[in-house]
């Protein structure tokens, strides 16, 4: 990588900067990254994309902005600080019914006017101009549920891998650096966990908890750290013997600091690759669990539960299946593309081959 920086006559840049520059050259990787960014945006903006309450409205003489508050409420803890104004806070309040243009009421609606839990039309209706993807068995708008299902997938993907990364890195570093008895115990434990088929383990552990999205996240995180731990252990073992690690040690750097400041950053790039693939797998597992009824519970939306409603009404309402399938496929594909490109970009051997 230093060769690249010197031959091009540019000043030496940071590792991540170089990686990003290489990444940008891969068209498919960039497409994947754009889709990932779009999914992120959709999940963050979901309350302002599909909501039964408007973005801004004048109602009975005063202004309200309920969808904006819904957006803010996605931030944990914000519910305590900002609350919806009086009528909107009530679960029984139906803005659409109370809406009265003669009184001077007006509203700026979200692009899709239906909330994910709102019963908006006839059940199991096919696609129409009002409900682009039709309605589900309770008469809820499928498109709105798809949009809000994105939140679940992104959350599960990132948070469960976050748990897995922390667990995996801590245990992997301990095993790799400390060696001895700690390494023996951790390595054996990793081997034991790896012997369970992943889905069996998740199902068995999930039976402990009442089904909910948080529990799904935790369980996926708790079962998927082993790969990262094994990887981190190998990397630390390898890097520990390098000259710069020796140099740092002879300068008197303490072990904890050596691992955190000198070894871990160098092991991070390959870990990032497996995290990217891991997110795709987590999204897949969450949708699968929700499909089986272990994940997100009705009436909350998720791609898996939408797929399940389609499966349960196969002969009458096939229209729910393709959208959910496309969404899951796109999410998995884009994370895989990003992961593959990252792997190509940060593997120096592949770079040498190409040059």
């Amino acid at each position: 990588m230093s060769a690249e920086a010197t031959t091009s006559g540019e000043p030496a840049r940071s590792y991540w900067h170089i990686t990003w520059r290489r990444f940008r050259r891969h068209r498919l990787g960039m497409v994947g990254l754009c889709v990932v960014a779009a999914l992120f945006l959709v999940s963050f903006l979901s309350p302002m994309l599909a909501n039964e309450q408007p973005i801004l409205c004048r109602f009975d003489g005063s202004f309200y902005y309920p969808a904006v508050i819904d957006l803010i409420h996605q931030i944990p803890g914000s519910k305590l600080i900002i609350k919806k104004k009086r009528p909107y806070r009530l679960a029984t309040f139906d803005f659409k019914r109370e809406f009265d243009p003669d009184r001077g009421d007006w509203a700026l609606w979200t692009p899709m006017r239906y909330g994910p839990r709102e019963i908006a039309a006839e059940p199991l209706a096919g696609p129409s101009s009002r409900h682009w993807l039709g309605t589900d068995q309770s008469g809820r708008d499928v498109l709105s549920r798809m949009v809000h299902g994105t939140v679940v997938s992104m959350k599960v993907g990132f948070l469960s891998m976050g748990i897995a990364v922390i667990l995996g890195l801590v245990l992997g570093c301990i095993a790799g650096y400390a060696g001895g008895i700690a390494d023996l115990v951790i390595s054996r434990f990793i081997e034991v966990v790896m012997c369970f088929p992943p889905f069996f383990l998740i199902l068995a552990v999930l039976a402990w908890f009442p089904p909910s999205i948080e529990n799904v996240m935790i369980v996926i995180g708790l079962t998927r750290w082993v790969g990262i731990a094994r990887f981190a252990r190998g990397e630390i073992l390898r890097i520990r013997e390098t000259d710069y690690a020796l140099a740092a040690r002879s300068l008197g750097v303490r072990p904890a600091q050596l691992v955190l400041r000198h070894l871990l950053p160098n092991a991070l790039a390959p870990v990032l690759v497996s995290v990217t693939f891991g997110i795709a797998v987590s999204i897949l597992i969450e949708a699968g669990l929700s499909w089986l009824g272990f994940g997100v519970q009705p009436p909350d939306p998720s791609w898996g539960t939408i797929l399940r409603s389609g499966y349960e009404n196969l002969f009458t309402a096939g229209h729910m299946i393709p959208p959910a399938c496309v969404a899951i496929f796109l999410a998995v594909l884009s994370f895989n593309l990003v992961g593959d490109t990252l792997r190509d970009v940060i593997d120096p051997r592949l770079q040498a081959e190409r040059a």
Binding site: P197, G288, P322, C325
Partner: protein
């Protein structure tokens, strides 16, 4: 060699012990035991409580967990996996019934994968960067990113329901017993098509890429150059000298993917109403059927360990450079 086998067997035993302990405790700590699940329907509280206690005693759940574990191990050593808490049948019989549907699909899909991906992999390696190589690898990559249960849902929707071409529920149609032998075989074959496809298509990309990559590495080796220099035909060089040697890493890949074949089947088997191990596992978890869950965990772990062990040994047989003395 013998010392290697012994060492592997002893670490394998420790791992098995760990697996059985962990799964035993995971299962036992789950709130809501089977006795509670089975008595929840009884309206009379006193009767419910009495039956509950009797059931707990019957299942041995009233004893402390370590004692239960010891009992389980004692029976296991005698080759007894116990009886199901759900329907009282022998666990071994339940598993035996579910084994063939899962295993037959797995083997079938595996054979198909090898039959298709080997020529594809070889051909792409020989024409590296060519039109075939690029289009096939892109196409297979897209397929690889289609989750198997997503493909299953779409296939069921279009081929099963909309166009009504293939059956997708279970292994047999209604009236299977009245069919002629030939008709029965045809019926079975039809039921296998969709589920086997779902198990197969994702592996195609993985395996053909793997074969291509290994072949590309082997082709650069000196002995391949030697074979060419001897004046051997290209066909013989590729198939006899290069390809056979590129197969070695395939052995460990097979060992690695096997557990996924067994576990990936939970959703698919449930979706296709396939009476296999995955569905049995799922139903046992719902029913809190401890003996069946334990047996399935234990057997799959045993299979995984056994297969990786055999794969490692085969490694040594096909590649004399690998030595076990260390």
């Amino acid at each position: 060699m013998l010392s290697y086998i012994l060492r592997r067997l002893s670490t394998g035993l420790i791992t098995l012990f760990g697996i059985s302990v962990i799964s035993f405790f995971i299962i036992q700590l789950v709130p809501g035991d089977p006795a509670q699940l089975q008595t929840s329907q009884i309206a009379d509280a006193a009767v419910s409580e009495r039956v509950y206690q009797q059931l707990r005693e019957l299942y041995g759940l009233d004893k402390p967990i370590p004692v239960q574990y010891a009992n389980w191990v004692r029976k296991l050593v005698q080759g007894d996996l116990g009886s199901s808490f759900h329907d009282g049948r022998r666990v071994s019989a339940k598993i035996g019934e579910a084994l063939w549907p899962t295993l037959s699909v797995a083997l079938l899909s595996f054979m198909l994968t090898l039959i298709i991906s080997t020529p594809v992999g070889i051909y792409s390696a020989l024409r590296q960067g060519g039109g075939f190589d690029r289009s096939v690898s892109t196409g297979l990559y897209m397929l690889y990113s289609v989750p198997n249960y997503v493909a299953g849902m779409l296939l069921i929707l279009y081929l099963g329901v909309k166009w009504d071409l293939l059956p997708f529920r279970g292994m047999r149609s209604d009236g299977f017993d009245d069919m002629t032998t030939l008709g029965q075989m045809w019926d079975l074959a039809q039921h296998y098509v969709l589920i086997t496809f779902c198990f197969t298509f994702g592996n195609l990309a993985y395996y053909s890429r793997f074969i291509r990559q290994n072949l590309l590495e082997v082709v650069r080796q000196d002995y391949v150059r030697t074979a060419r220099a001897k004046g051997l035909g290209e066909r013989s060089v590729v198939l006899k000298h290069a390809f056979t040697n590129s197969l070695i890493p395939l052995i460990s890949l097979i060992g690695l993917t096997f557990p996924f074949v067994l576990s990936g089947s939970v959703i698919l088997e449930y979706m296709f109403n396939w009476p296999g191990l995955g569905r049995l596992y799922f139903e046992s978890v719902l029913q809190r059927d401890y003996p069946t869950i334990m047996a399935l965990n234990f057997i799959t772990a045993l299979l995984v360990l056994g297969i990786t062990f055999i794969a490692d040994l085969t490694y040594g047989l096909v590649d004399p450079r690998i030595s076990y003395e260390k």
